[in-house]
């Protein structure tokens, strides 16, 4: 069993708008783990869209002009372009106007408390291609007028990778974007629970989950489909992907979620996913995102865990690398 030993260091903290984060270090000390927490907060301060003083907000506030950017922001913008290319344009960080139009115009806590009523009558159109609206130079960057960026999971995945790579044996979880290195606390690997509730053991890996069941509010959710510039309509409630890095996994999980169950398997396989686990959104057949007011991420987590436990007890096969495991479909059969 994978449990921390007394010599391991574990910090649990909250960042990125209330997301649960944790750092588990097996080859470091308290100071090392504290540095991870401090760096996470520094990253969030610099790149949050909810603070007008952040570098990201200042960049978004000056469209059309070259803005001097820090090495960190420049690197992340390059990474965003990479993620766009890897995902065939499905991961497009220039989704901020669409997110705001969908009602996610304040922190998720505030949006859930006082959701903005939106009229969905506005015709949707495809978002512009990221390379067409984002230029990145050595020390500058420029976003086209009318566009704005939200780094979202791309930033969290990148940061989880960098923080974990400081260690030989550690795990970093930044709001569901997980990076692990080494053999874990007692040499048996890192036990990670996927969105279905299935538990797998991994060594060096990135794991991420995307879906419509997380940041949801009456009238919408946070997963924007760049093909429609609106909250995604997908039959995947949540999908966990295991890949070489957290950033890679995050990019693939989001893209696959947008594509839906029918296309996700082959798409992921072609892009280097090692394993994926899907929780089907059965309710999507009857209603679409926005029709289920008040459903919290905690409720959806409970539902996934219940499905996973039932599925594990039914003696299913072991995870198959490169193939998805559709828990709901197994239960139906």
């Amino acid at each position: 069993m994978s449990t921390p030993t007394s010599s391991d260091v574990r910090h649990v903290f909250t960042a990125f708008g209330g997301a649960r984060c944790e750092v588990i270090v097996c080859d470091g000390n308290q100071d090392d783990a504290s540095a991870v927490v401090a760096d996470t907060y520094a990253f969030e301060r610099q790149l949050t869209r909810f603070d007008a003083r952040s570098e990201l907000s200042r960049f978004n506030a000056a469209p059309g002009t070259r803005i001097s950017v820090s090495p960190l922001f420049a690197e992340l913008l390059h990474v965003c372009l990479d993620a766009y290319a890897l995902s065939d344009g499905l991961v497009n960080v220039a989704c901020l106007p669409a997110l705001i139009a969908a009602g996610y115009d304040r922190t998720i806590t505030e949006v859930r408390r006082h959701p903005t009523q939106r009229t969905p009558s506005t015709p949707r159109r495809e978002m512009p291609a990221l390379p067409d609206v984002l230029e990145v130079g050595n020390t500058w960057a420029r976003i086209a007028p009318g566009c704005a960026i939200d780094l979202g999971g791309v930033g969290k995945g990148w940061l989880a990778d960098r923080l974990c790579e400081r260690f030989d044996n550690a795990a970093i979880n930044l709001g569901g974007d997980v990076r692990t290195r080494g053999a874990g606390p007692n040499g048996a690997g890192w036990a990670v629970a996927l969105c279905s509730g299935r538990v797998v053991t991994v060594g060096d890996a990135g794991i991420a989950t995307s879906g419509t069941s997380g940041r949801r509010w009456p009238g919408g959710h946070h997963l924007i489909d760049p093909r429609t510039a609106a909250p995604a309509r997908t039959d995947i409630s949540a999908i966990s992907v295991i890949a070489p890095t957290a950033l890679h996994a995050e990019t693939l999980a989001k893209g696959a979620c947008l594509l839906g169950i029918g296309a996700a398997d082959s798409w992921l396989e072609a892009r280097g996913a090692a394993h994926q686990e899907v929780v089907r959104d059965d309710a999507a057949k009857l209603s679409r995102p926005g029709d289920r007011p008040g459903r919290s991420e905690f409720e959806s987590d409970r539902e996934s865990a219940t499905i996973g436990l039932r599925e594990r007890g039914s003696g299913q096969a072991k995870p198959r690398p490169g193939r998805s495991h559709d828990v709901s479909a197994d239960l139906i059969r």
Partner: protein, 146 residues
Amino acid sequence: MVLGTRSLKVLSGVGAAAVCGVSGLLVATDPKPVTAPLRPPVTGSSSSTASLVIPPSCGATATLDPSLLPIVQQLRQATTASARRSILAVLSATQRLEIEAYMRAIARSPTGANASCNTTGTGGSIAPSIVEAPGSTQPLINTYVS
């Protein structure tokens, strides 16, 4: 024979012209490298240029506050993760992030340390090993939609 100043100037000029002429002739007749034409075609696209793909993230050169460059050098020379953490420990959180972003950018660039820049820069070279944990295993970490 004694030459006057004027004659010497004329002879010097003729000599210089001769040397330049011979040098120019040698350069003009020297075979040009085939793979790097001095006058590439400006119109049309050959098959080699048509297939050339420049990854979007490979065009820029990373920059960093010069005062942090010695730290980068120390990090490159460090051979263990512990040593690298010790070097980073004296910095502020912002400086640590800037340095790691810089080193990441350098590593991804075509002229970087490992020239690993490619179109799927979000990926890595590690093949994750995945084993289903026994049913009684308590997960140490949960991945979830956030």
